[in-house]
Amino acid sequence: MRFRFTEAAIDTVAARRELLDRGAGGYVSFEGWVRDHNEGQEVTRLEYEAFQALALKEGDRILAEALQLFPIKHALCIHRVGSLDLTDMAVWVGVSAAHRGEGFDACRFIIDEVKHRVPIWKKEHYRSGDSGWVNCERCAVTPRHAHGRDHGHDHAHEPLEHLVLPGSE
């Protein structure tokens, strides 16, 4: 099960079907939607852009890490690219697991890591006619986004880095 991008609307019914498992007692999903405001600005639409060659690898690594860290059955994440309108779904994460607790935890883990590690960029278009790349234009670099260290792969979750993860390339 691989991280993937789509330029069309995310088909959550088909995606959910990929997670079915006789040993799963439930399924948790997260949908990220385009909302009409951000940091005091009125947003009218979004554009997503990805460095897909690397994003697919990093997305797969996140899914593999989730399967290592949590006792879950399957995990999947699909991200939109291109122009999105208000209420459109930008990202979908689904996890099937024997028990709901691990499912919720793994789903939260995956969306958090995707937001911080996968090379995807979001341009907001505002009611004012202005636009801006999120996290790039207003020095709104939170500590979790700090790219200061020399190593390119500075995850926010160092405790995981000792884990040997299954190759996902």
């Binding site: 937001k115 590690r117 700090a146």
Partner: protein, 283 residues
């Protein structure tokens, strides 16, 4: 370059007194070759004829004596006399003037200078990476500079840098901020030797650069193939910053080489695909 532009010869300035070095700078050796030979060979790769500018007292110095020479028309005049002597010797020729004491100067900087030359100006020169002023000793001096230099000197001027600052000159941003670092003292010589040892000038390589998001907009393109002597992604970013003025600092970026995260100090190889990664915002 217009079709009427003068042909270009090379002039290696090696007439300096080397007073701070306390020995003749032209014969300082880097990587098994003295500075004068290095500079001579470098410039020879870009123009048809190269001369060495000397004072009359240096005519028999062996390193210089074996090369085509242009002798200063007056003694003790500094580099401006060397340049004027060359312009007087070949009045219809423009001169790629290069000081011999630039150990980090390499082909890309000369190639860029020649490509950007504006023969309608008195000179085409780099702006110093340190203070923004023109660098007269790695520059193309046009034939028309001869009379302006004569007037400047007759008014007591001696500084080629001040001359260029006050005349019509095309100033280029350097792509490599250390290419024109010059060496004046034994300490600087030792530092240059160490730097060349640990980081020898690389032959230019071709890289493919892809741009995304804010950097794509600021570069005005989504990809390009680039010939560069940048040895690492950090060097490459400095070079591209000089051209595009990216607003994101290196601290905010990550870098990927061949579609995998990489260190800023990684050695780049020909054909590598490099992507600078602005702060991400998925989800």
């Amino acid at each position: 370059m217009s079709s009427t532009a003068a042909p270009i010869y090379g002039l290696i300035l090696a007439g300096g007194a080397s007073s701070r070095m306390r020995r003749d700078k032209a014969v300082l050796v880097y990587q098994g070759k003295n500075q004068l030979d290095r500079a001579f060979e470098l410039v020879s790769r870009h123009v048809a004829k190269v001369f060495v500018s000397v004072r009359s007292s240096q005519l028999t110095e062996p390193t210089r004596a074996q090369k085509p020479l242009i002798v200063d028309s007056v003694e003790g005049g500094g580099p401006i006399v060397g340049i004027r002597s060359a312009l007087a010797a070949y009045p219809d020729v423009a001169w790629l003037v290069v000081a011999c004491d630039l150990p980090f100067l390499a082909d890309p900087a000369l190639k860029h200078l020649l490509a950007e030359r504006n023969p309608g100006m008195l000179a085409t020169a780099y702006a110093s990476a340190h203070d923004g002023l023109p660098e007269p000793l790695c520059a193309i001096w046009e034939p028309a500079a001869a009379s302006a230099l004569a007037a400047y000197q007759s008014n007591g001027g001696q500084c080629p840098r001040k001359f260029l600052s006050s005349h019509s000159v095309l100033l280029l941003e350097p792509r490599d901020r250390h290419a024109l670092d010059n060496i004046n003292t034994p300490e600087e010589y030792q530092q240059a030797l160490d730097a060349l040892d640990s980081n020898p000038p690389t032959n230019p390589i071709q890289l493919k650069i892809q741009y995304f998001a804010l950097m794509r907009e600021q570069a005005g393109r989504s990809e390009e193939t680039l010939e560069t002597s940048a040895a690492t992604p950090a060097d490459l970013l400095s070079e591209l910053n000089a051209r595009y003025g990216f607003t994101l600092s290196r601290e905010q970026l990550k870098v990927a080489v061949n579609s995998e995260f990489a260190d800023w100090s990684r050695r780049l190889s020909a054909g590598d695909a490099v992507v600078f990664i602005p702060p991400v915002a998925g989800g």
